[in-house]
């Protein structure tokens, strides 16, 4: 009777998509109960022996037992088997329908939940990134009016720029406060377009890594990524940063394609500024292989055969982000949380020749001419400073490479804990090679003295004389090396502390030298 009722209920057509979340949950529980009822038929069996072959005690159901003869018991069980077969046929038809209905309801329930989450997400409650609270917003805005910021800057001050070039040519990492962008430049031979057959091609690729910020999605640029890509393309294609005509090998057949890959590693505001400096430094650091153009072929020489050639860079446009508050105040180089308080931002790209390369306005706010002129003046000062920084970094790297010195590249970050401690020299990282050598000298001297003391007690006089000669030779060598270090230190304008250390070492060595003679 119960099974038949369920079948009659199952035949009713219910529109599942129109139901709400609560109704779907109720139906899911009901179907779970029905499935449990249909599948609950497991029982335990144990082997046993028959004591009386003629009579059996048969369980009829609900705790009642009847004593029957063997023939009657066999007939009873035969009738019960027939009944169970009929019931199983009915259950086998109903159970798949129940499973299908349950899966459908679960799918619809999941869709409802996803829609609910997406509705919440669009109204400002993002799933992964923390929203800015009203207290924080009010605090930021009031501090802007007092010309004070959280990290100690004033409203017209920039964060510190750190530029590190890699050991591979054309790679660099720029840190602007907590914002970190890596840039890599590579080249390949391609066929030019039909409209500009005598010019090379510049391609910009931006990768907004999810490592930088939780709201960046892998493979998608988003609004910030599109804006960054557009500004970089505007600078490198329209403003004439690179001499594209010098990249042509055969007109309309083969030209160099320069590809700039920009990876955002950490995002804390002023993303365009950091990416612009990184890509410019990578372009200045890049060298393309030398090429010989023969009448019927083109020979590309390797780095060991011929020295690679640097690109012709006409000028360096530096971007500056100016955040604009609701009452028109100007916030230079805003951080990520400060950007969320602002009405919008104006990005000005200038070079050190007092030329404006790009103007970009993001957000919804009203500009005026006076504000634009002020921002341009401030951006030109910034462009002069950053251009000098980039040139000094590239010059230091070129000097090291020309002197055949080891170029550490990005490994400096590990040895000096730059990425974790956020402290390093502003222009370039200088490896403390001399200090390591100086520290290494002290324990070796002590060990040597101990060994000589032990040997004097045991060995004969002739051996002692030989060892004394060895000591003298090694001491003289050390004195010469230290004097050469002192000369190199003077050239590099080291601190007076280092000079004092050198003097102390010299005095201690002289004392020991005198003692050994005695």
């Amino acid at each position: 009777m119960e099974v038949q009722r369920e079948l009659s209920n199952g035949k009713q057509v219910i529109p599942i998509t129109d139901l709400g979340v609560d109704q779907l949950t109720y139906f899911q529980r009901q179907l779970d109960q029905e499935i449990t009822f249909l599948t609950e038929s497991l029982k335990m069996y144990i082997p046993a022996k028959i004591a009386d072959p003629n009579n059996h005690l048969i369980e009829i159901g609900t705790g009642y037992f009847v004593e029957m003869s063997t023939e009657k018991a066999a007939d009873y069980f035969r009738r019960k088997q027939n009944f169970l077969k009929k019931q199983m046929e009915v259950i086998e038809e109903a159970l798949p329908e129940k499973y299908r209905a349950r899966n459908t309801i679960i799918d619809n329930l999941q869709k409802k939940i996803n829609e609910y989450c997406s509705q919440w997400g669009s109204s400002g409650f993002w799933m992964r990134i923390e929203p800015l609270s009203n207290c924080e917003r009010a605090f930021f805005l009031s501090s802007f009016k007092q010309n004070v910021r959280i990290d100690g800057r004033k409203c017209d001050e920039f964060r510190e720029v750190k530029v590190i070039v890699g050991s591979e040519l054309g790679s660099c990492l720029v840190m602007l406060g907590e914002t970190k962008v890596s840039a890599q430049v590579s080249c390949s031979l391609v066929e030019p377009s039909t409209t500009r057959g005598n010019m090379g091609v510049v391609e910009v690729q931006v990768d907004m890594s999810p490592m930088a910020s939780p709201d960046y999605e892998d493979g998608r640029l988003g609004s910030k990524g599109l804006e960054l890509m557009r500004i970089l393309e505007l600078l490198y294609r329209n403003c004439g940063v690179i001499d594209l005509e010098s990249l042509c090998l055969r007109t309309f057949k083969q030209v160099w394609q320069i590809r700039i890959d920009v990876h955002v590693l950490a995002s804390d505001g002023s993303l365009v500024d950091c990416a612009c400096i990184a890509s410019l430094t990578a372009l200045a650091h890049f060298r393309r292989p030398d090429v010989s153009v023969l009448p019927d072929s083109i020979i590309i020489h390797g780095n060991d055969e011929k020295i690679p050639i640097s690109l012709n860079i006409y000028h360096m446009p530096i971007c500056v982000t100016f955040g604009i508050t609701s009452d028109g105040q100007n916030i230079i180089d805003p951080t990520d949380k400060e950007e969320q308080c602002l009405r919008g931002s104006l990005i000005v790209a200038t070079n050190k020749r007092h030329e404006i390369c790009a103007l970009h306005q993001s957000g919804n706010f009203l500009l005026n001419e006076q504000l634009i002129v002020q921002c341009v003046d401030r951006a030109i000062q910034r462009a002069t400073d950053v251009t000098e920084l980039i040139y000094s970094v590239i010059a230091d790297d070129n000097l090291k490479r020309s002197n055949r010195q080891q170029v550490n590249g990005f490994s400096e970050l590990i040895s000096l804990n730059v990425l974790t401690s956020h402290q390093c020299e502003p222009n370039e990282l200088i490896a403390p090679a001399i200090k390591i050598d100086a520290l290494g000298n002290i324990p070796s001297i002590e060990e040597y003295i101990k060994a000589s003391d032990n040997q004097m007690q045991i060995d004969s006089d002739s051996r002692i004389v030989e060892q004394k000669n060895d000591e003298d030779v090694e001491l003289m060598e050390q004195v010469q090396s230290i004097t050469s270090l002192e000369e190199s230190k003077k050239q590099e304008n080291k601190n007076p502390r280092d000079l004092e250390e050198v003097d102390e070492l010299l005095q201690s060595i002289e004392e020991e030298f005198g003692n050994s003679i005695d």
Partner: protein, 256 residues
């Protein structure tokens, strides 16, 4: 060749501070909520606005204001060389984003929460100053749709010659490769800039001159747009005292 001749005239006979002729027609499409056709010299653009309506994609709607959705496309026959891809390339996407920024700053978006306004622009003939013409025709279409705005957005472009002179409303021959061009859009022609777009490099000393000339050009364009909207409203209400033909009245020609 130079943009300005030695006598102070341009190639098409204009002075440096003069804009081209503006021909317009409002209410071109009956199925759209607002529509406009604008000729700015030889640059011809059609625009249709579909007014505040409920967006189909629920995930895009905002709770406190409406969404402005702009689309810009160039017809394949609009330039001398046939254009293969009228929509979806990077330049049209840039134009669409810039127009969205400009309109969002001027439209009172708080009046229509959880809704969407679509603006579609089609460039029929290209002859320079495309972005400025798109903004102007979008403003006329939005006014025809009755969308409340802070003021009519007037846009104009301005080029700086190597001599340091400012030429407003440049055409395609004046848009040469290295001439710096600035496109400025203001509200009601006043010192409230909603769009500032610069192409090529411009020296700092010429910036104030170019900004001033561009703003004056936008004030000039705004007077033309304002007269166009007023004439259209009068024709629609029937306040005109004369008994002239409606078509002739709508096709009023404004020139400097």
């Amino acid at each position: 060749m130079s943009i300005i001749s030695e006598h102070g005239y341009r190639q098409d006979g204009r002075k440096p501070h003069q804009i081209r002729n503006l021909n317009y027609k409002l209410g071109v499409y009956s199925q759209a909520d607002g529509s406009a056709y604008l000729e700015q010299g030889n640059t011809k653009i059609l625009c249709a606005v579909y007014g505040p309506y409920e967006p189909k994609q629920r995930s895009r709607l905002l709770e406190d204001r409406c969404i402005i959705n702009c689309q810009y496309s160039m017809a394949t026959f609009s330039t001398n060389e046939r254009k293969e891809r009228p929509r979806g390339d990077r330049r049209s996407l840039e134009f669409a984003r810039l127009m969205e920024k400009a309109f969002e700053a001027a439209i009172l978006t708080e009046n229509y929460p959880r809704s969407q306004i679509d603006v579609f622009c089609e460039l029929l003939q290209a002859d320079g100053s495309h972005l400025a013409a798109c903004v102007n025709v979008g403003t006329l279409a939005l006014a025809d749709a009755g969308v409340p705005m802070r003021g009519l957005i007037a846009a104009a472009s301005c080029a700086c010659t190597p001599d340091g002179l400012a030429c407003v409303d440049v055409n395609s021959r004046e848009e040469m490769g290295i001439i710096p061009r600035l496109t400025v859009a203001t509200i009601s022609g006043q010192d409230a800039i909603v769009l500032a777009e610069l192409q090529n490099r411009l020296h700092k000393n010429h910036l104030i001159l170019i900004l001033e000339a561009a703003r004056k050009a936008t004030a000039h364009v705004h007077s033309c747009l304002e007269a166009a909207v007023l004439t259209h409203i009068k024709a629609a209400i029937g306040l005109s005292s004369t008994t002239d033909n409606d078509m002739e009245r709508d096709n009023i020609r404004f020139s400097d």
